[in-house]
Amino acid sequence: MIDFLVYLGTMVGIWGILSLSLNIQYGLTGLVNLGHVAFFMLGAYASTILVEIFGLPIPVGFLAGIGAAALFGMFMALPTASLQQDYWGISTLAMAEIVRLVFLNQTLGSPYVGASFGVGGIDRPLRSWFETPDAYGWFYLGLVVTLLVLVMLLCWWLRKLPFGRALMALREGDAVPLALGKNVRTLRIKAMGIGGAVGGLAGALFAHYNAYIAPNYFLPLETFLVWAMVILGGAGNIWGALFGTVIIQTIYNSTRFIDDYLPIEDTLLGSLRMVFIGVMIILVIIYLPNGLFPERRPRYGSRPPADG
């Protein structure tokens, strides 16, 4: 039970970082990125390739994962200038799938590594310092939570910066930032780059925690799960995104539990949990369009006169 909770906590932490990165792109800037899983995938693969194939130290792998995802994010942002949001969303979906196709077809180093076989036995940072897997689980949870807090601080700080306020203005349409002389294209590229970097961090954390990655971990379905977290919690709200992550991850992982108590097949349960999440998201969009924790928007100007 305890190790399951540690595992769940670690997954919530990793996916929390991922949903915060979508929150920077969608919640803050209003970019409808339907290829978000690409950052997760690039972070995981870049770090794995450098550490496992080239034998570089793990921190270098992490940095490379962050960098690769950030670069790809900036690349994804290039067509935004000429495309309507829905068209751009479709193109991001396609871009993420192209990345997955490359990893699905490309072997890494030897014939049975990479491609659809995936990469296994990925090094775990500082594993030798801990004697038992349990103790290591606690350590990794601590690492993930520390990084999550750092990412939360980054998101909070972004909102305070003039840059962050420009992003929020962009979310409401191009007119205001353009009138203020902001370069909307550069703003979008930067937002995608920062969000991508954070997503890459989550991917690297996942790869070195799970110790195995394969292309079918990075399907468009994962992008939907991240969206579900942000929409459920409330786009633009840091705590909302985290709360959404806790709920969705708990539902997603709880099947490990339920099948001990209910005589339902694994695959059936796996489908039913996705049906449940899908129906929940549709209901949230219809009845709670701002999520469970709507973003608190600062009010400017004179307050209405107080009574009395």
């Binding site: 969303g89 193109s91 039913l272 996705m274």
Partner: protein, 309 residues
Amino acid sequence: MWGNRRALTQVIFDSLIRASELTLLAVGLTMVYGVLRFPNFSHVEFAPLGAFLALYGASELGMPLLVACIPAIIITGFIGVGCDRAVFARLRDRSPIMLMIAAFALGIVIRELLRAWWGPSPYFYDIGLQRPMQLLGANVTQVQIGIIATAALCMLGFHILLNGTKLGVAMRATADNVDLAEASGINTERVIRRVWFIGSGFAALGGILLGLDTQIQPNMGFGIIIPVFCAAILGGIGHPHGAMFGALILGFAENIGLAIDWQPVLALVGIETGPYAFIPTGYKAAIPFTLLILVLLMRPQGLVGSRAR
């Protein structure tokens, strides 16, 4: 430049088969997109839904497959209308972003329900082993000729509906400009319901054809979402004729892209390869993806459309 892997006629036949399957899905997608102004990611899920319903009729209820198709298409059409009433009709005034995410969620619900019902392993229609016949140097089965003929007939019928009937004119008017159509006395909500019915029904038929050609499994719809979107966008959103044209281009692009020996082209730009340079089959799916991004970048209004997006 032609590789020795496949005869030219074979490439043409394969392209036509692919285009037939895609066009049935793309036409419905482009109509709903044009009328409701959001990319309906759940549209492709009506393909496995229809395919499984036909399979249920044929294998469980003992109907002949051709007969089982009819209720399957009609039921899928009504389910499409039901999805619109239950989900999208409540979101008409929302931003397309929310509709997009809701459509994604609805698609997952449909797909996972199918998976829960039928399980993840693939099914096949009981049509026996097809013996390919030689036609102009290509190997084609009777079923495959049937697929091409069915799609061609449907598209002809749809063309007549669009241009020759009041409903068709109303549909085109609504896809062009909802407010203007409403002002001209068109009951747009009724047109929207019909568009959903026809679109979902066509998607179901597309799924059945795809199932006849390959296999039936819950992922078969989502697996071709990008080619379908690509065909619709190529033809210009809201233009069914464009979508048919887009499906043809895509069918040929996928098959010709694989059949061409790219070595002379690569040598031209200075990349040295071996004697041959074919696109690996594993990357076949990358052709529509790349095409989609290129089209979006260069002509987001479609090849024939003119409206700026």
